[in-house]
Symmetry: C2
Subunit: 314 residues, 2 copies
């Protein structure tokens, strides 16, 4: 069989990123971008997506049998319909498979959650290259999460598993064991309380810095933590321990020991890691030591993982 | 193909339970038991296991191509060797596959964790009969857990996933969000702190009853909770909420909504359920409502799930 050309698209709130990659060796053959205004109609997004695919095929000198698409949100798997998406409200109710496929002569389009495809990309060509199983956590406005087990994306029976950012790591005050104060800032928009993303996202870190009377510019905060054993380092250690709590649940429930950290606040991993490792050592279940490494594909992870979807045979 | 006869064994600390079941309709054809002294040698256990298999085959009027075995502990999957087992120390370092198989003319023997086979049994012929995906939690001395996804047992890439009882639902005091007291009784023998089993096992419930100045006989406690809105009901509600915390993590990470509760303290599910459902409602992630039902196979669940293992084709 000739080498297969794979094309992936990553739908974001303001643009579509995409690229072409060779199935056999993971060589990146082309990259592209289509920005759009926040209020653009779904039909227009689909047109731009199809144009981008054709542009990528032209640049890569080949054509893709199927197209993979990553998009923030929850999906109805069989039809590729967006059930909910905070970032892309105009796409709710639309079938991405149908919309993108129509502009491409009815080609098959596979759709997956954006954090999941990013994990799938990092495991294929990024930080998880040498690992069969791993979890990706992206520390941004929220905490995105994706899990790969035995080189397969884990989405669970209903397709919506692996919502790592909404694992509760801090219980709501109640009962005889915890009668401490209720922290308004730990209430999560998802309806829950004490979700991992309320404690370790970039937004949470900025909030925690302000509460501690520190500079909430995260690169500045991280640099201060690197340079001196002061309040910035103590805060990063504490946030690192909370990150470790989230990872420890993944160790216990998935038997995963390799973690990749991405997103803007992931750049502070060097100062978060000591706290995370300390907690994982305390809560370690099983025998293997965990490793926590930075993501390496940056904003390419999503489209690369989406492209890999189109290689799936199931 | 003629109907297949399946045989499963469940190795416990004081006996081997076993049975024969028809693959096509799940009809139970025979049951058997071989007790042994706690200090019995591995070779003797293997001999009794093989005898029990032959007895079951004779009673069921057929023979099984492969044998499934459930046993407490961690295993090396390819060889079926027991790596660790608190209940059956004499089996550590022994290959159950080899030991049981030798007395049966070298037949193939499949080995799995006891809580996992119990979940696999309940999903096949018990409380989960109508569900493709579910988790079983057994509330006994500890909390055993097993997860079935899409009619397959979920054991993760290394085979040791799904340790639900050791999910941390209560963080160790540290950091600015939780500065409450350290509770000695929440320290878990696994090395961690605040594990689900430190809060909702039968042992934990008895301890919590004593702390609250209540009768620690669990059936008596449960009955009092059923009859009056007093301190017993409040304690059961609180333990139920803690159980709900464990379930809520499974909802978020596995997209499971069907839970089966077994073990001795599982008999109190009717008084634990209100608290568990209350918490799941508060922490609900996603859209589906959860259902929590009692296990129905009792002590047959383990051998039935073990028998089902032998039907697997992978």
């Amino acid at each position: 069989m000739a080498d297969q050309l794979l094309i992936g698209l990553d739908f974001g709130g303001m643009s579509i990123k995409g690229g072409a990659v060779s199935a056999s060796d993971g060589k990146i053959l082309a990259r592209g971008l289509r920005p759009f205004a926040p209020d653009v109609a779904a039909a227009e997004i689909f047109t731009r997506a199809a144009e981008l695919v054709l542009e990528l095929e032209s640049a890569a000198g080949g054509s893709a049998e199927r197209i993979g698409v990553g998009c923030a949100g929850l999906f109805d798997r069989p039809t590729g319909t967006v059930l909910a998406s905070a970032n892309m409200p105009n796409l709710v109710g639309e079938s991405l498979s149908k919309g993108v496929g129509e502009g491409l002569g009815g080609r098959e389009v596979l759709v997956e959650n954006d954090a999941n495809v990013a994990a799938f990309g990092e495991q294929w060509l990024g930080a998880g290259l040498a690992e069969d199983s791993m979890a990706l956590l992206t520390l941004g406005t929220g905490v995105g999460g994706g899990i790969v087990l035995g080189n397969e994306l884990f989405v669970g029976p209903g397709g919506n598993a692996g919502e790592i950012g909404h694992t509760v790591i801090f219980p709501k005050p109640s009962g005889s064991y915890y009668d401490g104060p209720y922290h308004e800032e730990l209430a999560c928009p998802c309806g829950s309380y004490g979700c991992l993303e309320r404690l370790v996202s970039a937004s949470a870190a900025k909030r925690r810095a302000r509460t501690a009377g520190l500079n909430d510019d995260l690169p500045v905060l991280a640099q201060a933590a690197r340079e001196a054993d002061g309040p910035e380092r103590r805060l990063m250690h504490e946030i690192g321990r909370d990150l470790g709590s989230g990872l420890s649940t993944l160790v216990t429930l998935f038997d995963i020991s390799f973690f990749v950290i991405g997103g803007g606040f992931g750049a502070a991993l060097d100062v978060l890691r000591p706290g995370a490792e300390e907690l994982l050592e305390e809560q370690r279940y099983g025998t293997g030591a965990s490793r926590i490494v930075p993501a390496t594909l940056g904003s390419d992870a999503g489209w690369i993982g989406a492209a890999r979807l189109s290689l799936r045979t199931d």
